[in-house]
Amino acid sequence: MNFPILSTLIFLPLVSSFFIFLSKENRSNNSAIYISLFSSLATFILSLFIWYSLDTRSADFQFIEDKSWINDFIKFKLGVDGISILFIVLTAFITPICIISCINSVKIRVKEFLIAILVLETFMIGVFCSLDLVVFYLFFEAGLIPMFLIIGVWGGPRRVYSAFKFFLFTLLGSVLMLVAIIAIYWITGTTDVTEIYKIQIPKEYQNLLWLAFFSSFAVKMPMWPVHTWLPDAHVEAPTAGSVILAAILLKMAGYGFLRFSLPMFPIASEYFTPLIFTLSIIAIIYTSLVALMQEDMKKLIAYSSVAHMGYVTLGIFTFTKQGIEGSIFQMLSHGIISAALFLCVGVVYDRLHSRMISTYGGLVNYLPKYSFLFIVFALAGLGLPGTSGFLGEFLVLAGTFQKSYLISMLATFGVILGAAYMLWLTKRVIFGNTNNAEIKNLKDINNLEFLMLATLALLIIFFGFYPAPLIDTLNISVDNLIGNYELAIQKNEIN
């Protein structure tokens, strides 16, 4: 295909953010919201079109764009396969929801906020499209700038601390990846991912390079013990910021493991599997326990995200089809569920300006529509069968069982703990006695909020019962990933 459809997809939000920049700011800020909504919906439709026209029977990268860039070996190369397209669609789907959510929650500097969101969308889609390590790094790091501003300008009382912590943690993790990328360039002579897949990176380099990539992805994922920036960032970020952070930014790391660590350094990936398993199990059990003790709703969901991401890393490093497909499915479903939960917190936060669990109680009596949706999301979050949350965890555990009984048993504990904190949260917020008189005066969610949350709930239930559209898309790409991995391991054993 000659038309640069992926570049269009990437730069459409950026161009429209420029129009928002030019648009006149008036009291209602309508034009800015319309432009951003329109452009993000256009991006979403375009991403659906790409998904539709993607040939899922082929594991090759498609819609490839290859432009000369820094030099003949570092090119501006874009392309999608069955794995990346799903993340692109997720990104393009979450962004309009964020924009709708900010109509109610963002009161100051709306124009700048929309610009930041759209610029961030450009960078996020760019991460999932890039087939060149330098291009990937460029987009991966560039996302820090708008996110830093979103947390810092529109965030809560401790926003400065959180924004700095977020920025510096991620930057520190990533600079080592930059060293590794340049080192790969000098080892293989290219940074084109598809070329590097064909060339086996020498065994002696693999471990160090893997660790350098790991340092970046572990911070971004986030894995225990470098997860501490996430609860802070989530708590202080505005609703839309939390949604993007949980739904998409965290997925970049999981995607990075799949796209780079696994296929480029298969021997090192196998070598470090015990490390990943240990950290994942600690993340699942420890952070679930921490989540139990939280008094702040956003913090609780943030810790539950860390636990859920533990399943993702666990699944990826089982190197089994179920494990990897489960992690991708888990990432996508967590993208929707955590987004929905943060939106739910945002809805009540806009009304009462408190995120404390103790502020609420007995919401079911006064906000029935809201409570119903909240319960759906909470149940999806704990992995109830029939929701998409169940399938991801189930597949990951099924994959893990093939590798180790002990690990999968420990991971299953996490499911129980997950049910504990989610149900307890629901009990304290939705049910129980109403101690706070202000709750009685609360209005139930308006149509826009209902539409937004109901869409997410429908998707969660739809993919819970019928995951085939997602699984079919990934199938061949995951097969190919595992096939190449096993080939590389066999070759290594023969040598």
Partner: protein, 472 residues
């Protein structure tokens, strides 16, 4: 002979123009505006002359003066940056009663000195150029002579710089003594590992040059001079002499010292690491923007020196790309300072920036771009500058240097973020005067658009710089 002179045409033109405008200044009263405009014209004409001069290598006057693409590139960079620095600061100069007609003339004289520095192929000519430049800079640092801090910074700069010039001259004489020549090419032939005395000379010369580019441990003057001198002078100090200093440093490494690479490499690596670390850590506690930019410039010189430390042409090229982007960023950063005027007084504390994003969103956004670019965050120009440096450093398998360099970028990101925090997250305190300084706004616009769009065509500077080392 006429042919020889055509090689020297930019220098001759510049010298004659300086003399003529000096005469105008002496005989016409209140001629600052006239001379200032003439100076801009002279700068533009000199750029035109250099653009039209051929780029082939030519050595004249017993091989003591050379013109090649390398010197032409640096001369144009020096001229363009001085043009922007000077014009953006015009309002500042007038507002602070610095509008003496000598001001632009001395700047032109220092540029003339730099021309000879980057074109020299002989240590005598090099030293003369360096001294012409340094003497002009001493005067510039103390130009606000009624101001205590400006005079103090002038004296401080003079004393320390004279010392370093002395060391440099001592190194030059040692070099002559041990190699028997003052010509760079002949020195290069004589200078080998066995020539211990000449290696001493190399160390002395490196000390002198490190002082001129304000690399650690010869950086002590930088923060005081940057803070004490008027902002218009500081912005000149931060940009133009750094370019010339780095050009000369690269030239010394490339021609006379090319056979003792292993000897100077260790020194440069040390200087580079020390500069990067000090630039990152010492800037954290600063409250004055100019002082902070002084430390940040020390850090940036550290990165450029990391490119030089590789000892290969691709490394030198990356250092040149780095310094070019550094110039673009610094012109933008200092131009922002010219717009922070309140009741006729220019603010220069970080706390004065508090909340300017609310009242001056475009200025704040430009500052944001420049600061993120200084921190080296993609997709801005500053990232590519660092990327090229570390690519060439890693090509030489200098992993420690690269990892230390990248870790210091994280530390230095902290203080850039602190300024951004002040601009964007804090409440606004000061309402600044509306400004008529169109040229400062224009240079901010140019600098920001280059930094923002650099990622579209990141090889543009490399393609230019690729041609600089074609001879030899």
């Amino acid at each position: 002979m006429i042919n020889n002179l055509s090689v020297l045409l930019p220098e001759i033109f510049l010298t004659l123009s300086i003399f003529s405008i000096l005469m105008i200044g002496v005989f016409i009263k209140d001629s600052f505006n006239l001379i200032f405009n003439l100076t801009s014209l002279i700068l533009i004409l000199t750029i035109a002359i250099i653009f039209n001069s051929p780029n082939n290598l030519e050595k004249i006057f017993l091989d003591s003066f050379m013109r090649d693409s390398f010197s032409n590139f640096f001369k144009i960079l020096i001229l363009i940056s001085s043009l922007f620095v000077l014009n953006a600061s015009k309002h500042f100069i007038i507002d602070n009663k610095l509008a003496k007609f000598e001001y632009p003339i001395i700047i032109l004289l220092s540029i003339l000195g730099m021309f000879f520095m980057v074109s020299s192929n002989d240590i005598i000519l090099f030293y003369l150029g360096l001294e012409l430049q340094s003497l002009s800079l001493y005067i510039l640092a103390a130009i606000d002579r009624d101001n205590l801090r400006s005079s103090e910074s002038g004296i401080k700069y003079f004393v320390l710089s004279a010392l370093s010039s002395g060391l440099l001259l001592y190194g030059c004489s040692l070099l002559y003594g041990f190699t028997g020549s003052t010509n760079f090419d002949l020195i290069a032939e004589e200078l080998t590992k066995e020539n211990t005395g000449a290696i001493f000379a190399m160390v002395f010369i490196l000390v002198g040059l490190a002082f001129k580019v304000s690399a650690v441990p010869f950086h002590m003057w930088t923060p005081d001079v940057y803070e004490g001198a008027p902002t218009s002078i500081t912005s000149y100090f931060a940009v133009v002499p750094k370019v010339a200093g780095l050009a000369v440093l690269i030239k010394f490494m490339f021609i006379p010292f090319s056979n003792i690479l292993a000897e100077w490499q260790t020194i440069i690596i040390f200087i580079s690491i020390a500069s990067m670390i000090l630039g990152a850590i010492a800037a954290i506690g600063q409250k004055n923007i100019k002082r902070l930019l002084a430390y940040s410039s020390i850090g940036h010189i550290g990165y450029a020196l990391a490119g030089v430390a590789t000892g290969v042409i691709s490394g030198y090229q990356s250092a040149i790309v780095y310094i070019t982007i550094y110039v673009i960023m610094n012109i933008g950063a200092f131009s922002c300072l010219y717009l922070l005027k309140k009741d006729g007084e220019y603010k220069e504390n970080i706390s004065d920036l508090s909340g300017i994003s609310k009242k001056q969103p475009i200025l704040a956004f430009s500052f944001l771009i420049i600061l993120f670019s200084l921190a080296g965050i993609p997709p801005l120009g500053g990232f590519f500058a660092k990327f090229y440096i570390f690519t060439s450093v890693l090509e030489q398998k200098m992993y420690t240097l690269a990892i230390i360099g990248l870790l210091t970028t994280v530390i230095s990101a902290f203080y850039y973020l602190k300024i951004i925090k002040t601009i964007y997250f804090d409440d606004s305190l000061i309402t600044y005067d509306t400004t008529k300084n169109k040229i400062a706004q224009l240079s901010i616009l140019i600098s920001c658009s280059i930094l923002l769009t650099f990622f579209l065509y990141p090889s543009i500077l490399n393609n230019l710089v690729d041609r600089l080392f074609i001879y030899q």
